[in-house]
Every structure is written in C-alpha cells, then in structure tokens.
Symmetry: C2
Subunit: 125 residues, 2 copies
Amino acid sequence: MTRSAHPADVFTAIAEPRRREVIAVLSDGRDHAVNEIVVRMKMAQPAVSKHLGALRKAGVVTVVKRGQHRMYRLKAESLKPVHDWVKFFERYWTHQVDQIKQRAERKAFERITRSVDPPNKKKEE
Amino acid sequence: MTRSAHPADVFTAIAEPRRREVIAVLSDGRDHAVNEIVVRMKMAQPAVSKHLGALRKAGVVTVVKRGQHRMYRLKAESLKPVHDWVKFFERYWTHQVDQIKQRAERKAFERITRSVDPPNKKKEE
DNA sequence: TTGACATATTCCTAAATAGGCATATATTTC
DNA sequence: GAAATATATGCCTATTTAGGAATATGTCAA
C-alpha cells in the first residue's frame, strides 16, 4: 500500500512541491487560466492540468468555464485544517519553549525510571 | 516519477495520516519509547518504527538511546515551515475575506474582458 | 467546414511507499 | 552464555503517482 490517506486529503494535496507552486500562482485569490499557470510554472500543460485536477479533488481550488478557458481559483478556506493542525505546535517555538522543554524532560525521566524498565511486564497501557 | 519532493520534506512527512497520529502521541513534548507508541496506536511495531524513521529523516523527531529503549521526541520547530506557509492564507478566512474576494473578482473580470475573451459563457460549475 | 487554440484524458513507465512478515541487532537480566 | 525484551531492517507485494507523449474534447474564428 501506498499513501493510505483519502486521495482528496488536503495534507496530501499540498505535499507536492509543484502543487504548492500552483497554489502560489493562485495565491492572489484571482481567477487564472490553465495556460497562464503553464507559462508561469514552465511546466507541460498536461502536468499542470493534472495537478489542478488533484487540487480540485482535494477542494483546494475551484473551476469555472469562461469561454474556451477554465478559470481556476484558490479556495483558501480548504487550507484551514492544515492551519489548525499546525497551529497547535506554534507555542513550541515561541518564548515558552524552555519552560515546556524542561518540564517535559523532568516528567519523561520520572516516567522512565519508575515504570518502563523493570522487567516484569509485557504490554501495558 | 512519484513524489518529486525531497524524501525528507516536512510537508511529505506530515501528509501521512498515521504519521500525524505519531506526532499526536508525541505532541506533549515528552520522550516516548517506541513500544508505547505501538500500544497507543494499535499498530505493528515495524510499521511504527518505519514511520518514526521517516519522521526522523524529515527532522520532525529526534531519538535518544536510553537503556534498551529508544526515546523519540517531537521537534516541533521542524513544523514551522508548514506553519509559515499556511499562515499566509490565514487572512482569507478571516473577516477581510469579502473585501479581498470582491477586489479579486473585479480585477479578474477586467483581465478577462480586456484580453482573453468576449464576455459570453456557456456552462459554469 | 476548417483550422486554431485551450484544456483534459488516456496510456505508459519509473519511482515511491505503507504495511505484512521474518529476521537481525542491540540490551538487559538470569 | 542463554533467554527475554526493544527496536530496526530487509524482503515482498499492492498501490499510488508524477510526468511524458499522444490524443481526445471543446470552443472560437474565418
């Protein structure tokens, strides 16, 4: 098995660097035709179309037909889950870092010395 | 080709749901033995070890030998690039959304009508 | 209709990879 | 040393997937 994520998972969608490039192009919040993205990214058109397809499946972009073009637009709210997820860890690189680390180390040490090493258990928790 | 990202890319590392579970277990900032993660995640030990290996390569966790255990710890700063990347889009789901959207739409419309296409359309989605 | 242009889709291949299973490699305890 | 425990690694398979090339589809213009 490979990636067991839902194929349309946002985390998976943004894992691709090229896809983040596409998002960067769309990050002005405006509509963009495929061809424009192709030119800006210096990438083959089918490849771009495929990435856009993946992003669309993940709900990261939306499409609208306009004449013979298809206008893609970033749906930024779709990135909110990522933001929420990573925001939790924000505090670890802010000023409280030292406090947190020290407390963690102390607790971890206690845990280890008191419960893990004694050779009388198999599986617990 | 598959994922063209550096294998140790943080975005790729966190794309795996199971890996985010591992991170969740480590999210208290303390040391955790592999076996503990195995038990908590109800996952086979080799699988867990592999995920930990991937996370380590991506710099998301660190290891320390302690007796016959290997204690893994989250290196939260490694997630900062993700935070920084997604933070840019934060403003799109905050109160200014309407402003931004409206301006974007207006500009896009101008762009289209002046350079790409006469303003007639067939199908929209 | 014909042709030009924009985009998507299909087929292909090479690479990545999650997880199962078996096994190797410590490390501790007896 | 031997057994038990903790962890990593190797092999295997099924699945995913990025991108190339060719082609299909759709739309507009003359």
